[in-house]
């Protein structure tokens, strides 16, 4: 009796354990390996791009980059202070247009709207974020440049960038506001706050860290955008020349100089690439860190 029991349980155990050599187990281990391989292949380009930009860019980094103008071909040295300034101006204009519109629109979506309108507008926001960046450039060209309202200028460039920043800001603000607990709103209304007061003094302050994160991310994205600036801001070898003249930007400088045959211009392109990549990396890491510090 006793012995037959142990025999039984041995058989049961054998039938429950998978033999190492069975095709099913082998297939399983092979697929595990394939998944790891996929992960490794996915990370390979990130490491390759980052290390290459770092190696090439650090060699070209020097203080004069920030203080001098782009050199003519074959002249050593030089910098791109006009391009840095141009990027700041245009991203600033883009943010000035898109941040108020985006934040207020998101406030309507979470605080005031009916479900149907909110769904429609969110749908449009998602579709807008899928619009190719070059189309934003074409649109800005049609509205501001070819109509001769403003012409090639930082304003046209900033306008094109604002169209790309808008969906990012709406989406992140929308998500941030939805995370604010309803108790806060009810408490505010219970104390007699108007809708305006509730939003401005209770809901918005609670969500502000995530909103700032979203805005920062959109600014980092916009600084690297090239396509919408190609024919709205053009490029300029010279100093900032007013708000109605073509203007340089880091991204377009990378494009123009990377395909130039001259070593000194290529080295500037690498340095500018490094600055753009670092900008995106640092903001992404900070954004990740901030969203992890939950205020509620």
């Amino acid at each position: 009796m006793n012995s037959s029991f142990t025999e039984d349980s041995g058989a049961v155990r054998r039938s429950l354990s998978r033999s190492k050599g069975s095709p099913r187990t082998l297939f399983n281990s092979t697929m595990n390996f394939v998944a790891f391989a996929c992960g490794a292949i996915a990370l390979l380009p990130l490491l390759a791009v980052l290390s290459y930009v770092l190696i090439q860019g650090i060699g070209s980094l020097r203080l004069s980059l920030f203080t001098e103008l782009p050199p003519p071909p074959l002249v050593e040295g030089g910098g791109f202070r006009n391009a840095i300034f141009g990027t700041i101006i245009m991203v600033g204009i883009g943010a000035l247009i898109s941040v108020p519109i985006g934040v207020l629109a998101a406030i309507y979506l979470t605080e005031f709207s009916s479900g149907k309108i909110a769904r429609g507008v969110r749908f449009c926001t998602n579709v807008l974020s899928g619009v190719p960046s070059i189309i934003a450039g074409v649109f800005a060209y049609g509205v501001l440049v070819s109509s001769k309202i403003i012409g090639y200028s930082p304003i046209s460039g900033g306008f094109a960038l604002s169209i790309l920043m808008l969906p990012i800001i709406v989406r992140t603000t929308d998500e941030a506001l939805q995370l604010v607990p309803n108790d806060l709103r009810q408490a505010a209304v219970g104390l007699g706050c108007t809708k305006f007061q509730t939003v401005m003094q209770v809901v918005l302050p609670a969500a502000i860290p995530s909103i700032v994160t979203g805005v920062t991310l959109s600014i980092a994205r916009a600084s690297g955008e090239t396509a919408p600036l190609l024919f709205t801001a053009l490029f300029s070898q010279f100093e900032f020349n007013g708000f109605f003249q073509p203007i340089a930007s880091l991204a377009v400088l990378v494009y123009n100089f990377a395909i130039s045959p001259y070593d000194n211009q290529q080295s500037l392109a690498w340095a500018a690439s490094l600055i753009l990549v670092m900008l995106v990396l640092v903001t992404s890491i900070i954004a990740r860190w901030v969203t992890n510090q939950k205020s509620y």
Partner: protein, 318 residues
């Protein structure tokens, strides 16, 4: 903004008129701005369409089947067939590489094959891949990717030239280089959205499958992936939209030749690259033709994105 004043006589004094006005004005303002987003989408469409009218009148739908792009005055003839072909083929090559790797990575990041802390870091790294500016990928492609592809391509050409897709010698920029860079750029989108879909498959399904004796990969392939399939489809479609509209990296790597070739090593062109290359120097009818091309690209990406969004919406409802 503090209208609140503690007064003992009337703690419940009615709201002043200006308070009410401010309140309804604020709600109205936010509503207008929210609707403005939908309006922007519409305006882009109308605006580009209006500017394309002269070219539409001149070329009609023949624009889509014409292969010449000739801006010489007097003999102007424009068509976007090679560019549309280039857009579709380069995106297809990109997805062909990115979909298996991206879904594989998504599975790796949604299973417990790795400790959670490692997975969190990996998810973040994949996100970073999406954050690198397109123009930087372009520069990297020119100096790193093209030499590699030329080397591999030379071997393929000397051994397999009888296969049509390897039928021309690789001479630097070309369709394959653009496809590979698109694969790298769409990988994070496919991975992130597929991973979301895989994670949100109910736990019960997995438990039931494992309880019936299925191995991990039998569970993944026969239960989890089918359950998350529509999410993966929408990931692929969003990636397709992104790939078709991608401009800078492709422009720098595809070679910008307005012709159709069966070989993946031959230089080609996409609609987005055509716009990037020609817009700044164009004038007259050429601008209108470019606007027409932009409209074609806009509708292509719009179609793909709307379909993807609809799939996502249906998934959320379930």
């Amino acid at each position: 903004m503090s209208t609140y004043s503690p007064s003992r006589e009337s703690p419940l004094s009615p709201r002043t008129k200006s308070d009410k006005l401010l309140d309804s004005g604020f709600v109205g303002l936010t509503r207008i701005l929210a609707l403005a987003i939908a309006f922007v989408l519409l305006t882009i469409c109308v605006q580009v369409g209006l500017q394309a009218i002269p070219a539409m009148k001149e070329f009609g739908f023949g624009f889509l089947s014409e292969t010449a792009w000739n801006p010489v005055e007097g003999r102007e003839l424009y068509g976007v067939l090679p560019q549309v072909y280039g857009t579709l083929v380069s995106s297809f090559i990109g997805l062909l590489i990115a979909v298996p790797i991206g879904v594989g990575t998504a599975v790796l990041l949604s299973e417990n094959l790795l400790p959670l802390s490692v997975r969190t870091v990996l998810v973040f790294l994949v996100e970073l891949l999406a954050a690198i500016p397109s123009v930087v990928y372009g520069v990297w492609g020119i100096f790193v990717l093209i030499p590699i592809i030329t080397n591999i391509g030379n071997w393929l050409y000397s051994n397999f030239a009888w296969i049509p897709i390897f039928s021309t010698p690789p001479r630097g920029p070309g369709m394959l280089a653009a496809g590979v860079i698109l694969a790298i750029m769409t990988l994070p989108i496919i991975t992130a959205i597929s991973r979301d879909a895989l994670i949100s498959v109910p736990r019960n399904l997995r438990e039931a499958s494992v309880g019936l004796g299925a191995t991990r990969w039998e569970t993944i392939l026969k239960v989890i992936i089918p359950a998350a399939f529509s999410g993966i489809v929408s990931a692929v479609m969003l990636a397709l939209g992104r790939a078709m509209g991608e401009t800078m990296a492709v422009t720098m790597l595809i070679g910008n030749a307005n012709k159709i070739s069966s070989s993946v090593f031959a230089p080609s062109n996409t609609v987005a690259s055509l716009l990037a290359n020609q817009f700044a120097e164009a004038s007259g009818l050429q601008i209108s033709a470019l606007m027409y091309a932009a409209l074609v690209l806009f509708f292509l990406t719009l179609l793909v994105n709307i379909l993807a969004e609809l799939v996502v919406m249906r998934v959320r409802k379930i």
